[in-house]
C-alpha cells in the first residue's frame, strides 16, 4: 500500500462523519427521551428544572431591569398626558367607591350578625407573600410567568397568584427562591369557578388564547355577557371568591371569559398560601398539581357542554 499523505484522512473522514451522525442521532433521541420523561412527570426531571430555574433566575431578573425601566418611563410620559382626565375620572370613581364602602360596611355588619346567629364556621385566614414577575412568555404554546418567591418564602405547589385586578394563575413549579405560575389562560389550566350571579359551578379552561372558556356548566345555567366569574374553592386548591373575569362572548357551545388581569402590566403578584389541602404533592403521587382542580381527563374540544 502506497503511503500517500492523504491516506489517513481518507479513512478518518468517513469515520468522523459517521461518528458525528451517530452523535446527532443520539442527541435527537435524548431530546425525545426527555420529552417522554417530562410527560410522565418523573420527579427527577421536576427537580432538575427547579435547580436550573433557581440558578438562572437572577440572570433573568437582572436582564429584565432595563426593559422594565424603559416601560416605566414610557408609562410615565403617557400618564403625564392624561393627568387631568385621569384626575377627574378618579374623583368620580372615588365618589362611587365611597357609596360602595357604605354598602360594604352595612353588609359586613349584617354578615357578622347573621354568622353569629347561625354558628357559621368562617374559612381560615389566608397568609400571602408578594413577588415580582421577572419573566413572562414561554413562546407560542405556554402561558406562564416566573416570580421572585419560592420555597424559602413559604410558597408551595398550587398556591393561587392574584394581582390587584383578579386571579392570575396557580403555582406549578417551586424553586428555592423562584417559582413559576401557570396563567389561567394556559392550555393546561383548569380552575373550578362559579358564576357569581347565579352560583352555577363550572370549570374555567384555558386554551392559550386571551379568553379562556367555561366548560362543564350545568345544562340549565343562565349565563349572560357581563356575568362575573369567581373561584368556587372546589377541590380545595384556590380559596373561594377570588375575582377571575367577566363573560364576554357566548356562542354555540362556547362561553368565553375575559380575565380581569391586565396581562401587559403584570409586575407584581400576591401568592395566597392556603395550605393547598387539595393539591396532590408530586412526592406522594406522580400527578401534575392541576389534575385535582379539573376533571381527571383533559377535555377534548368536542366535549364542551352547551
Amino acid at each position: 500500500m502506497a503511503k500517500r499523505p492523504g491516506s489517513f484522512s481518507s479513512v478518518a473522514q468517513p469515520v468522523r462523519s459517521l461518528w458525528s451522525r451517530f452523535a446527532f442521532a443520539t442527541l435527537i433521541a435524548a431530546a425525545f427521551g426527555l420529552m417522554l420523561l417530562g410527560k410522565a412527570d418523573v420527579l427527577l426531571i421536576e427537580r432538575a428544572r427547579m435547580v436550573v430555574l433557581d440558578a438562572l433566575a437572577p440572570v433573568i431578573e437582572v436582564a429584565s431591569r432595563p426593559a422594565e425601566a424603559v416601560t416605566d418611563l414610557m408609562n410615565n410620559v403617557r400618564d403625564l398626558r392624561y393627568l387631568r382626565a385621569e384626575n377627574a375620572r378618579l374623583a368620580v370613581e372615588n365618589d362611587r367607591l365611597e357609596r360602595w364602602q357604605h354598602v360594604a360596611r352595612r353588609l359586613e355588619a349584617e354578615n357578622r350578625a347573621l354568622r353569629a346567629l347561625t354558628n357559621f364556621v368562617p374559612p381560615k385566614e389566608v397568609d400571602f407573600v408578594s413577588a415580582r414577575v421577572i419573566a413572562d412568555g414561554g413562546g407560542a404554546f405556554v402561558r406562564s410567568v416566573m416570580i421572585t418567591a419560592g420555597r424559602r418564602q413559604g410558597v408551595s405547589l398550587g398556591n393561587a397568584a392574584v394581582s390587584g385586578e383578579g386571579l392570575v394563575g396557580g403555582v406549578v413549579e417551586v424553586g428555592e427562591e423562584y417559582s413559576r405560575v401557570l396563567l389561567i389562560t394556559d392550555l393546561n389550566s383548569q380552575i373550578p369557578i362559579v358564576i357569581e350571579r347565579t352560583r352555577d359551578p363550572a370549570v374555567l379552561a384555558g386554551d392559550n388564547t386571551r379568553s379562556p372558556r367555561i366548560i362543564y356548566l350545568p345544562q340549565n345555567a343562565q349565563v349572560v355577557p357581563g356575568d362575573r366569574i369567581v373561584t368556587s374553592g372546589h377541590g380545595g386548591v384556590f380559596p373561594p371568591g377570588l375575582a377571575v373575569g367577566m363573560v364576554t362572548t357566548i356562542t354555540d357551545g362556547s362561553i368565553r371569559v375575559t380575565p380581569f388581569v391586565d396581562w401587559e402590566r403584570l409586575e407584581y403578584v400576591r401568592l395566597l398560601m392556603t395550605g393547598a389541602d387539595g393539591v396532590v404533592q408530586p412526592e406522594s403521587a406522580n400527578l401534575p398539581p392541576f389534575s385535582v382542580m379539573g376533571p381527571e381527563n383533559t377535555p377534548r374540544s368536542g366535549s364542551v357542554l352547551p
Binding site: F24, M35, S64, N208, E264
Partner: protein
C-alpha cells in the same frame, strides 16, 4: 511556525465560543418581560435565527451537543416540555447544513428565503409534537404567528450577527 502563547489561545477560544455564548444569551433574553402588548405569546425564535445563521456561516463553531444544551435550557426557562426546543434546534441545524452549499455564497435575500423554507417544517413539527403531548389539537394560530415573527425578524437579527461574525468571531 511559532506556538501560540496562552493569551493568543485564550483569545481564539473566546472568539470561537462567541456564537454559542450568544445563542445562550438569546435563549435567556427570549423570556425577559418587555411590556409590549401580546409580545409574550409571539416572542420571535431568537435561538432559531442564531442556529440557522451559524449553521450556514460557521457550522464548525456550532456543535450539536451545544445546541442540545441550549435547547434544553430554553425549555426550562420557557416552561415548554423538556426537549422540545432541543429537537427543533437540532433539526433546523441539520436541515440548514444540508442546504449549506446552496445558501452560503448567495446574496442575503436568498439566505433569508432559505430560512423561511427551512424553518417552516420545523415550526410545523413543533406544533404537531406539542399537540401530541397535550393529546389534543392546539390551534395553529400561535405557531403560525411565531413562525411569521421569527422569519420576518431574521434580517434585523442577522444584521447584528454579521457584525459580530466580522469583528469578533472572524
Amino acid at each position: 511556525m511559532m506556538r501560540p502563547t496562552a493569551a493568543q489561545r485564550l483569545d481564539l477560544w473566546i472568539r470561537q465560543s462567541t456564537p454559542m455564548a450568544l445563542t445562550s444569551v438569546l435563549a435567556v433574553l427570549s423570556v425577559v418581560t418587555v411590556g409590549i402588548p401580546g409580545y409574550a405569546s409571539v416572542v420571535p425564535g431568537y435561538t432559531a435565527m442564531a442556529t440557522f445563521y451559524w449553521a450556514i456561516f460557521r457550522p464548525d463553531l456550532q456543535p450539536a451537543s451545544a445546541l442540545f444544551l441550549i435547547g434544553v435550557l430554553q425549555d426550562i426557562l420557557t416552561g415548554t416540555p423538556l426537549g422540545m426546543t432541543a429537537v427543533s434546534l437540532l433539526l433546523l441545524h441539520a436541515l440548514a447544513l444540508s442546504q449549506r452549499r446552496a445558501l452560503v455564497t448567495k446574496p442575503f435575500l436568498l439566505t433569508w428565503l432559505g430560512f423561511m423554507v427551512i424553518q417552516l417544517p420545523v415550526s410545523i413539527m413543533v406544533w404537531m409534537m406539542m399537540s401530541a403531548l397535550q393529546f389534543r389539537l392546539i390551534g395553529p394560530e400561535p405557531a403560525l404567528f411565531q413562525y411569521l415573527v421569527t422569519v420576518l425578524g431574521f434580517p434585523v437579527v442577522a444584521w447584528v450577527f454579521v457584525r459580530i461574525h466580522r469583528y469578533v468571531v472572524r
